[in-house]
C-alpha cells in the first residue's frame, strides 16, 4: 500500500512542479488541464485497484471459511485414537466358517461313469466342517500386495490354499501374481468356496479340474485401454493341480491362456464372456479303482503319460432391476470345457502291466441360474452334464480298457439360501445326481457360510 501512496505523491509533486516555473499562460493552462486529467486517471486507477483487492480479500475470506472447515475435519481425524505402534500395520484378517450336512443315498466314493481316470472330489456325507478358511492380506509396500488363504481341513490339518503377491503399481493395465493362486481360467475357478452359489462345484469342475485349479507359478494379465472390458492373461505354473502331475523339473509344468470381455447394457444388465486354454504334460498319472472290460472286482490301477489340452468357454449375464442388486437380481452363467488327452496308458500296473497308446476327448458343461427374489433370499437351479467320450485304445489294451461307456452323467441341483446379512448365509440344496450309471442319488445338503473380521470386496 505504501508504495502506491508514494507513487501517487510523486505524480502529484511532478504535476505541481511546473506551476512554480513560470506565470500562467494558455499553454500552461493546457498543461495544467492535462496534468489534472492525468491525476484523475491515476486516482481512478488506484480506486479500481483498491476495489479489486477488496474483492480478492472477500474471496480469500470465504476460502478461509472453507479451509477452516477442512481444518476441523482434519482435527477430527487427528483426534481419532491412533492404533498403537505394533498393531498399527496389522493386515486385514478374515475367517470363513462353514459347515455342511450331506444326506446321500449312494456311496459318494464312486466317481461319475467314464471319469474314473479324472479327478474325483466326492461331496461330504453326514455332518462335517465344510470350507473353513483364514485369509490374511495387506499392501506390502507401494509396489506389492500380499494375500494368503489357509484352508482348515476338517481332519485337523492346515493347507495353503492361496499365498501370492500382486503388483500394485505396474500401470498400463498390467497386473501380475506370483505364488500359489487359483488359476484365472473360466469364470468359477477363481471364486473361493464361500462365494459359490451352490454347496458344491459343477460336475465339469469336479471331473476336469479337481473342483478348482490351484497352481504355483506366475500369472500376468493385461487390461486393454478400451471402454469395453477386454482382458487377456497367461500363466506359467508348476502343474501341481489336476490334470497336471506335480513333479520336480526345470521350467513350467503347465501353461494357461485366457481372455475375458465384458460390459454393461444400460444400468440393469451386465455380462462377461471368456475363453481359456490349458496345456500340461502328464507323467505317470495313476488312477485307482478304474473299471475294466474284464470286470475286475474293485477295478484296476492304471498309469497314464501324455499330453493334456483343454479349451473352455464361459459366460455370465446378470440382471438387476434399476441396477440395484440389494433388492433383487438374476444371474445366468454357463461354462463348457473340452479336454483332449493322448499318450500311453499302462493297464493294471499291479498285475497285467500292459502299455499301449490311449487317446480320449472328454467334455462337460453346466448352466445355472440364481434369482434373488427378495432381499436376503435367493433360489438357484443348475444342470450339469458330462461326456466321457470314446477312447481310441491301442491294440494291446483293446480287450482290457473300456473305450466307450455309452453313458452321459447328468445332475440337477436346486438350492435356496437365506442371508441374514452380507456376512452370513444359510443354504438348503437338493440334487438329483445321475452321474453314475444305474446309481441315481437324491441328495440333500444343508450348509452355513459365515465370515468374520475384515471382509474384502468380491469380484464380479
Amino acid at each position: 500500500m505504501s508504495r502506491k501512496i508514494f507513487l501517487g505523491a510523486a505524480i502529484a509533486a511532478l504535476s505541481i512542479h511546473p506551476l512554480n516555473a513560470s506565470a500562467a499562460s494558455d499553454a500552461d493552462l493546457q498543461a495544467i488541464r492535462e496534468q489534472i486529467q492525468q491525476l484523475k486517471q491515476s486516482y481512478e486507477q488506484r480506486i479500481a485497484q483498491l476495489e479489486q483487492r477488496l474483492q480478492q480479500a472477500e474471496v480469500s475470506g470465504k476460502r478461509a471459511e472453507s479451509s477452516a472447515a477442512q481444518a476441523q475435519a482434519a482435527a477430527q481425524q487427528a483426534s481419532r485414537p491412533a492404533a498403537s505402534g505394533e498393531d498399527a500395520f496389522n493386515p486385514a484378517i478374515s475367517l470363513i466358517l462353514g459347515g455342511t450336512y450331506g444326506q446321500l443315498r449312494q456311496d459318494p466314493a464312486i466317481p461319475p461313469t467314464g471319469f474314473a481316470m479324472a479327478a474325483h472330489m466326492p461331496p461330504d456325507q453326514g455332518l462335517g466342517l465344510g470350507e473353513s478358511e483364514l485369509a490374511i492380506s495387506a499392501n506390502i509396500d507401494p509396489h506389492f500386495r500380499g494375500t494368503a488363504t489357509m484352508a482348515l481341513d476338517p481332519a485337523g490339518g492346515v493347507s495353503v490354499e492361496n499365498a501370492y503377491i500382486e503388483g500394485l503399481a505396474l500401470g498400463n493395465g498390467l497386473n501380475f501374481k506370483a505364488g500359489r493362486f487359483f488359476s484365472g481360467l473360466g469364470y468359477l475357478n477363481e471364486q473361493h468356496a464361500h462365494a459359490w452359489d451352490f454347496v458344491d462345484q459343477p460336475l465339469v469342475y469336479r471331473a476336469l479340474w479337481g473342483n478348482q485349479l490351484g497352481e504355483d507359478g506366475l500369472q500376468l494379465r493385461w487390461l486393454a485401454p478400451t471402454e469395453t472390458f477386454v482382458e487377456i492373461g497367461g500363466e506359467l505354473v508348476r502343474g501341481r493341480g489336476f490334470p497336471g502331475t506335480d513333479r520336480a523339473k526345470n521350467g513350467a509344468g503347465a501353461g494357461m491362456l485366457f481372455a475375458h470381455v465384458g460390459d454393461d447394457i444400460g444400468i440393469e444388465h451386465s455380462w462377461q464372456a471368456g475363453a481359456s486354454l490349458h496345456q500340461t504334460r502328464r507323467v505317470d498319472a495313476q488312477s485307482d479303482a478304474v473299471p475294466d472290460l474284464l470286470g475286475t472286482a474293485g477295478g484296476v490301477s492304471n498309469l497314464f503319460s501324455g499330453d493334456s489340452r483343454t479349451a473352455g468357454l464361459d459366460f455370465v449375464w446378470k440382471y438387476a432391476p434399476n441396477g440395484n442388486v440389494k433388492e433383487s437380481y438374476f444371474k445366468l452363467q454357463g461354462e463348457y470345457f473340452r479336454r483332449r488327452e493322448s499318450g500311453m496308458l499302462t493297464y493294471d500296473i499291479a498285475a497285467a502291466n500292459v502299455t499301449d497308446s490311449y487317446a480320449v476327448t472328454q467334455s462337460g458343461w453346466y448352466l445355472q441360474g440364481v434369482y434373488q427374489f427378495m432381499p436376503h433370499w435367493r433360489a438357484g437351479l443348475r444342470y450339469d452334464r458330462l461326456d466321457p467320450g470314446v477312447a481310441a485304445v491301442g491294440a494291446l489294451n483293446a480287450g482290457n480298457v473300456i473305450g466307450n461307456y455309452a453313458f452321459n452323467p447328468v445332475r440337477t441341483s436346486l438350492m435356496v439360501d437365506y442371508s441374514p446379512s452380507e456376512f452370513s448365509r444359510l443354504r438348503l440344496q437338493m440334487a438329483r445326481d445321475q452321474s453314475r450309471q444305474g446309481l441315481t442319488d437324491n441328495q440333500l445338503f444343508l450348509q452355513y457360510v459365515m465370515s468374520l473380521g475384515a471382509h474384502g470386496a468380491h469380484s464380479y
Binding site: V59, L170, V230, G262, I267, S270, E422
Partner: protein
C-alpha cells in the same frame, strides 16, 4: 421406465473422449460436482446410478475398464464403496488412481463426519469405522469438497489451472447464494420430528434441524423386520413424527407401511442427482429435497 431412461442418460453424460481429464465418479453427486468444476474439460463416467444402493454394487467388468482409463477417481470414501471399489481399482492396472495417489479423491476426508461409532462390532449392523458415509445430504459439505476437488483438478491438469480456479470461484459464489436460499426455505423444517428408513440422513438432519426419532432398519443395512416395525409404531404413539424419509434407491414398502399405520407422510428423497426426475443437477437436488420435505409437512 422413465427413471431408468433418466439414469441411463446420466451415465451417458460423458461423451467427449478427447477431454483433458478422465473422471471416474463413484456416485452421481460427485459426477455432478466434477461437472460443475471442470465443465467440458473433463469426460465424466458415473459408476453407480441413483437407484442403486451404493453399499452394494458389483465390481462389474465395465467399471474395471473405465477405472483403467481414469485420471481421477472421485468417491465418497469412509468405507461406503468397500464392497466393490478395492477390486475395481486393483484389477484396473492403473497405478495413478490407487488410494494414496493423487488420482484418488475421497470426499469424506474434507468434511466433519457424524455418527463415528464408539464401538466397532458387526453386531451393530453395517457400521462404518470412519463415521456415517452419506455426507452428500448436507449441502454445506459441498463447499470444502469442491475446494479440495478443484485443487486436485488443478494439480492433475495444471494447463487448465486458471479455468478450474475460475469455475471453482463461480461455483463457490453460486453455491453460497443457493445455501442461503435453501436454509431460508427450510426454516419450517426446524425441529420437525421424522422417522428414517435407513440411517442415511444424519447430515441432512444436522443441516436443516430435523429430529430423527426412529429408524425402520433395526440395525444399519438390515431389512426392517415386522417385529421392529411394530416397535417403531409403538414409539411413534408416544413420540409422534411428521413424516418417514427414505432414499429413492430403497424399497418403498417399509416406509409406506409405516406411513399408513402411523398416519404420517411417506417422503421419498432423491438422495443424489438423478434420484427423482426433478433432481437433474446439484442445485435441483437440494431444491427438490427441500420441496419434498416441505410437502411432507402438509
Amino acid at each position: 421406465m422413465r427413471k431408468i431412461l433418466y439414469a441411463l442418460s446420466l451415465l451417458l453424460l460423458a461423451g467427449n473422449s478427447h477431454a483433458a481429464l478422465n473422471v471416474f465418479a463413484c456416485e452421481p453427486e460427485w459426477a455432478a460436482l466434477a461437472q460443475q468444476l471442470a465443465g467440458d474439460r473433463a469426460s465424466i463416467y458415473t459408476a453407480t446410478g441413483a437407484l442403486q444402493d451404493p453399499h452394494r454394487v458389483e465390481a462389474r467388468p465395465s467399471l474395471i475398464a473405465r477405472a483403467r482409463r481414469a485420471d481421477l477417481v472421485i468417491c465418497t470414501g469412509a468405507e461406503l464403496e468397500t464392497a466393490w471399489l478395492p477390486v475395481v481399482l486393483r484389477e484396473s492396472g492403473n497405478g495413478e488412481v490407487q488410494p494414496g495417489r493423487s488420482g484418488y479423491f475421497e470426499a469424506a476426508q474434507y468434511v466433519t463426519m457424524l455418527e463415528v461409532p464408539a464401538r466397532l462390532d458387526r453386531a451393530e449392523g453395517d457400521v462404518h469405522a470412519a463415521g456415517n458415509p452419506h455426507i452428500q445430504t448436507d449441502a454445506r459439505n459441498f463447499l470444502p469438497i469442491a475446494e479440495a476437488l478443484g485443487q486436485r483438478m488443478i494439480q492433475l491438469d495444471p494447463g487448465n489451472a486458471a479455468f478450474y480456479r475460475q469455475r471453482l470461484d463461480a461455483f463457490g459464489q453460486q453455491w453460497r447464494a443457493a445455501l442461503a436460499k435453501w436454509e431460508q426455505r427450510a426454516v419450517p423444517l426446524r425441529n420437525v420430528p421424522v422417522v428414517v428408513q435407513h440411517k442415511g440422513f444424519p447430515y441432512l438432519s444436522n443441516w436443516l434441524g430435523l429430529k430423527e426419532v426412529a429408524a425402520l432398519e433395526p440395525k444399519p443395512g438390515m431389512e426392517p423386520s415386522a417385529a421392529h416395525l411394530a416397535q417403531v409404531l409403538e414409539t411413534l404413539k408416544r413420540q409422534p413424527a411428521k413424516m418417514v424419509l427414505r432414499a429413492a434407491y430403497q424399497n418403498a414398502r417399509p416406509s409406506e407401511w409405516m406411513a399408513q399405520r402411523a398416519d404420517i407422510n411417506a417422503v421419498t428423497l432423491p438422495y443424489t442427482v438423478g434420484g427423482t426426475p426433478q433432481a437433474t443437477d446439484l442445485y435441483a437436488l437440494f431444491d427438490d429435497t427441500i420441496r419434498r420435505l416441505l410437502d411432507g409437512l402438509k
